[in-house]
């Protein structure tokens, strides 16, 4: 040991060691630099890509709404990203079970995983990527991109096909030629905007809120706000393509603040005519095909309850009353034996009722007592005598409506 130790202690050896050590350290700068460059690229590229708000001629809210109404985009294809956060408790598989139970659409016997109403209910929570293509009123395609699978809803002439590639199941129904196939749930920014603009009346403030770029296109921003208090809707913002008048992005923020409840926007859009093969569909060999027979189709397909995002529920709720008007209107109905199971009116569903009850808050009022189920947008009050009040209003407004409605 000793001779080496003395060697090391010579000045020359020390300098050498230092030099070698430094040279070694210098090499590690390379991977560190690579990490830095990568991190900077990830952080900066989105910021640089945001080229600022485009410069567009001034326009009034009225003109913009007319522009949307006059918009006649017949041919388009694009990718839509839709994020919904209704604040529903995350029940995992049970949730879809309940929803499909409510629509009566699926079940192990006879149900098809390619049924559009069952499939598109998935959009009610989480982030999804959709592809849309349209060529006139007769040909549309909507695809829900999944992990290594896809669900496609294709309307071509009088045929409506649903194809679920994960299970290789096909759903088929027919519509009259020339009619636009109704989707059971609004999915594109345009569908959502049409719904929102239906609600525009004197209880609403509509303004143009500057410009924005969506999917590389210049757009105006339309801001729709309820004037009344008591609504859970904070604001609805719509980006309208400056050239075609097509809504490109739809954002609904709740009054309670936080992330948007619904955020649907094109990430890529093209107004070129999509290839004809896009709309051609023949069921693959061996696929299980579920035919929707005519009577059912008439009852279900043309009656899409687009009234709200929980439209699937509303389907079962024919004959409901509406209390109030504008944004604070509350729908009410007697659940009787259908609709939402509650511990009050469905003793045989006691287990499930009790389970659901654990998500709600007990409330009392002139109407008696009941349970309020809250999401970030829609609140529902189920009274112990089986009446149900639903609306995009706050809990207090709901109780008030129940009190006055009694």
């Amino acid at each position: 040991m000793a001779p080496y130790a003395s060697d090391d202690s010579t000045p020359a050896g020390k300098a050498d060691d230092l030099r070698v050590g430094r040279r070694k350290a210098v090499r590690y700068i390379v991977p560190v630099t690579v990490i830095g460059v990568a991190a900077a690229t990830i952080g900066l590229v989105p910021a640089l890509a945001d080229s600022g708000d485009p410069d567009l001629p001034k326009i009034t809210a009225q003109q913009l709404i007319e522009k949307i109404a006059a918009s006649d985009v017949q041919q388009l294809s694009g990718t839509v990203k839709i994020t919904t956060d209704l604040g529903l408790p995350d029940l995992g598989g049970l949730e879809s079970g309940l929803l499909s139970g409510a629509t009566g659409a699926t079940g192990d016997d006879g149900g098809s995983s390619a049924d559009p109403s069952a499939k598109l209910t998935e959009l009610a929570s989480g982030t999804h990527t959709l592809r849309v293509a349209a060529d006139g009123p007769d040909r549309q395609k909507l695809s829900l991109l999944e992990n290594a699978a896809e669900y496609s809803l294709i309307h071509n002439g009088k045929d409506v096909w649903g194809y679920d590639s994960a299970s290789n199941e096909v759903y088929h129904s027919t519509v009259e030629q020339g009619t636009e196939a109704a989707e059971p749930v609004p999915t594109t920014p345009k569908d959502l905007t049409d719904e929102a603009l239906k609600a525009v009346d004197d209880t609403t403030s509509v303004t143009v809120d500057g410009t924005v770029q969506v999917a590389g296109r210049d757009a105006y921003k339309l801001l729709v706000k309820p004037k009344q208090s008591g609504s859970t809707v904070g604001a609805i913002s719509v980006a309208v393509d400056a050239r075609t008048g097509l809504p490109l992005k739809f954002t609904l923020t709740p009054a309670s603040g936080g992330a948007a409840v619904v955020d649907a926007g094109f990430t890529q859009v093209s107004f070129a005519k999509p290839g004809a093969a896009t709309f051609d569909f023949t069921p693959p060999k061996g696929a299980k095909v579920t035919e929707e027979d005519g009577a059912d189709a008439a009852a279900e397909a043309p009656a899409p309850s687009k009234g709200d995002l929980e439209g699937d529920f509303a389907k079962d709720l024919a004959g409901l009353d509406v209390l109030g008007d504008g944004w604070t209107s509350v729908a009410t109905f007697d659940s009787g034996g259908e609709g939402m199971p509650s511990s009050g009116d469905l003793p045989d569903a006691g287990g499930l009722g009790g389970f659901l009850g654990s998500f709600g808050d007990k409330v009392d009022g002139k109407f008696g007592s009941g349970t309020v189920f809250s999401t970030r947008l829609v609140n529902a009050l189920v009274t112990d005598d089986g009446k149900v009040y639903v609306g995009a209003v706050t809990k207090d407004a709901l109780v008030k409506a129940a009190n006055t409605g009694k």
């Binding site: 070694k24 290594a148 590639s165 199941e169 693959p284």
Partner: protein, 346 residues
Amino acid sequence: MWRAEAKAVPVKAAPGEAASVEAASVEAESGEAASVEAASVEAAPGQAAPVEAAWVAGGAIGRPVSRLWTLGLFRSELTITLRRWRTLALLGVLAAVPVLVGIAVKIETGDGSTAGQRGDGGAGPAFMAQITNNGLFLVFTALAATLPFLLPMAVGVVAGDAVAGEANSGTLRYLLVAPAGRTRLLLAKYATTVTFCLLATLVVAVSALAVGALLFPLGDLTTISGTRISLADGLVRALFIALAVTASLLGVAALGLFVSTLTNSGIAAMATTVGLLTTVQILDQIPQLHAIQPYLFSHYWLSFADLMREPVYWVELQKNLGLQAVYVAVFGSAAWARFTTKDVTA
């Protein structure tokens, strides 16, 4: 032992540099080294001999033949890797997966039902349901089934062994005395691992195609978007999918190579690489960690299925390629920094 090859030959001509220590150790074991030389010259006479001649003629610079050298180094590395029983066993297991899947699907659907059609719909790997209708889908199913674990594990074993295995068996210093230089040796090692990635993927794909053609009908196929494409188009897409899967493995290969430079134990390097792989896969499954998941190398692996959409959905494929490139750059340069400054004692 014979793997030290021709690279040991020019040692005596090699001037200074870091080789002096290693040269001394080679001489200390000259008996063994001599036998190594004899064996190696026989093993690769074609490229080794002219290279040496050029080396001697060109003196210490020797640049004109550098490309040949690297190629020769790469070729010998590849031969050595592929001749290992371990490698052959891994490839055998990979080739067996499509056979098992194919037979299982054939038996299950013997009564005419479709595979993967259960109440929950989403059981089994991707594309499972379509296999009975078109054997080509077995290629996609087999790749989807092997990509999460089996393929990267095989790559991890080969990459982890690349440097540490040599160090473990005491052959690394013989390799290093060759005038090729450490950087070039590392590049040859990485190229070998990448070639193995491609080979392993192709073994799965070709085996699946053979089994699929044997057990199930082939023909026009339906993309997952519902449109129809011809069989030829399908085969082209299968080839692109195999390339996309290969590209997905590049990050693991670089990571394995870096781990391999950290230790002198081949087993430790392989275990660490496979352990990291498993950890990353688990992290990718935990919903609460969604903020970091887009940066995990396995996050976009299944994006190869996007090649079966019509039109192809490029967004995630591009993200996958970008992510793999970052991993290759980071861990490749880290491996280089480590390997070129490492004290090789074994």
